[in-house]
Symmetry: C2
Subunit: 199 residues, 2 copies
């Protein structure tokens, strides 16, 4: 199967590619890296990506920005970054891609642990994660041609501990290989409308 | 206790006021109606509302707009309405209100049933509802001075069936009085960071 992986160079994207690349053809997409460039913040950039790549069997997103700040200092514009970029950007990947994925194919988005196991500074991320969980439930029942949509909600990856671990006191890091398997469950499996928790 | 109810004239707002007005002083807020006017879409309007009303014991929001459309026809701007108005508007009510609620007081927001029991045309609402659920989990652990934050997620109200019932096939409508009780649980109780489901 031909699979687009947006955010292929990130910790999650690498886990996705490691799991799927043995049996599928991966097209790596990044804002500045990868086989094809696209910017989640820009719907027209996403549309251009789909036109360039053509039909695929699945789309995986492991991308999206959120701002981290103390609740009492969070500015509206900072809060909106998560809603426009991580949420609307990934949703645009679905909306713009409905005609570019083969029958029965899938979209697999990425949220994260913070809407069920919160940390300080994480209210923006928790909001974005919850939004993506709601989206897949709502969107799955309306997908045309047997298309499917799920979101993977991974805990802090072992590969991310060095950079972000101090923000996540007491969180048990998850091996990247287990995170990769969650994407296989969505891409190669048959489920839809699910939040796939990895912890 | 002095309680601000934003969206007091809607079906949910009326249920909130019916439950709380017997034992609390309610300040009804609407965009064009009520004791005080404020527009959730405009952070400065929310700030002006708080300055005008002064300190309160609790803030209840039963307001926020979302767009309904078929998934295959959803435009980005339509999708963003839910994220800016229902989500960011209600979050702004919390962020702007942190210094206007007395110690131990509460914010109670409103989401809805569509992120757990979806309907056609409802992907935007499902996304907004999920976002609000994530927000209260993330925000609750950072609230200063014992402030609390919850979100009520009511099913279709009996009082809304005439207008919206045909959009919700098979949904069991919930009595407005039961919806009102959910707000009492947040306002008069001690819980925080919870999605209070009414079904």
């Amino acid at each position: 199967m031909k699979i687009i992986v947006v955010g292929a160079e990130g910790d999650v994207g690498r886990a996705v590619c490691a799991e799927l690349s043995g049996r599928h053809e991966i097209i790596r997409v990044g804002r500045t890296s990868g086989d094809v460039q696209a910017d989640l913040a820009d719907r027209s950039s996403i549309e251009a990506m789909y036109r360039r790549i053509g039909k695929v069997g699945a789309v995986v997103s492991a991308a999206g920005s959120v701002h981290f700040a103390a609740l009492t200092e969070f500015m509206e514009a900072q809060f909106m970054l998560g809603l426009t970029n991580k949420v609307m950007g990934q949703i645009n990947l679905v909306l713009a891609g409905l005609n570019h994925v083969e029958d029965g194919g899938s979209f697999t988005l990425t949220s994260g642990v913070l809407d069920r196991d919160p940390i300080r500074m994480g209210a923006g991320a928790a909001t974005a994660n919850g939004a993506l969980g709601g989206f897949v439930v709502g969107a799955a029942i309306e997908m045309p041609r047997g298309l499917r949509v799920n979101v993977v909600s991974p805990g802090l990856l072992e590969t991310s501990v060095e950079r972000y671990g101090s923000w996540f006191p007491g969180h048990v890091p998850v091996p990247a290989a287990r995170v990769g398997l969650a994407y296989a469950k969505s891409v190669d499996g048959a489920i839809t409308g699910k939040v796939i928790i990895v912890e």
